[in-house]
Subunit: 139 residues, 2 copies
């Protein structure tokens, strides 16, 4: 896979991939940015969570469960010193569904976290502690 | 740091962070997506490169070198089996500058790759082989 990036602002970056989709990065003025887009390390955490969220959605659908709403709140802690790697990440998945049971949500998350999600696996392999919880709202 | 994600399409995800900036993810129809945005694992690679690109830009500016253009081409290889982690990444930085020397570019990349870039450090710590080269165009 090949991706391309261009610095097209003080710190603003436009990244493109093979389908032509664009992703934008910037940073805060304190480090020279103009705060027009999310910072790379923030997006890295979002990408990791998004990777797992797609697994969970796909697995729930395979189980023929209805996804009325699926949300995640993700908390990441980084090292104080350079390189400021993520040291702890907590993933909170919230599913609103009229027919899924807690075990369906839990199993989907476990399958993603332990088998499918390449991004989560990389975070863990790097030494980051990754924890998670699934909250089911049956309605 | 806290980020939030919402599944707001078949596989489309909108991620937000504390400044309100949004990042979008989707995937190809083969796995249930609608191909409206880059996939999470692609964005993860872009975020890693973007993190390093900002370091390089900041270091070159500290050295008072002119950045006429700064681009990156990034190639990532992933494992065949789940979890499909990145196993090899090559980062090609291209700088157009009338006053930077090759050693300025090389030193900037090395400082990013060996000291500052948290995302690159996580890739390496996970077991991914990360290589790089800097191409300088003096004009």
């Amino acid at each position: 896979m090949i991706v391309n990036l261009v610095l097209d602002g003080n710190m603003h970056i436009t990244a493109t991939e093979s389908n032509g989709h664009k992703t934008y990065f910037d940073t805060v003025p304190e480090v020279g940015g103009e705060n027009t887009a999310a910072a790379p390390m923030v997006v890295m955490l979002q990408a990791m969570a998004g990777c797992s969220m797609m697994d969970v959605a796909a697995i729930l659908r395979k189980k023929r469960k209805t996804i009325t709403e699926l949300k995640m709140e993700v908390e990441g802690l980084r090292a104080d010193k350079h390189p400021k790697v993520y040291t702890k990440v907590h993933l909170k998945y919230t599913l609103v569904s009229p027919d899924a049971e807690q075990k369906d949500l839990d199993r989907s998350i476990e399958l993603s976290q332990n088998t499918y999600c390449g991004a989560s696996a990389m975070f863990k392999q790097s030494g980051c502690e990754v924890t998670y919880e699934g909250i089911l709202i049956n309605q």
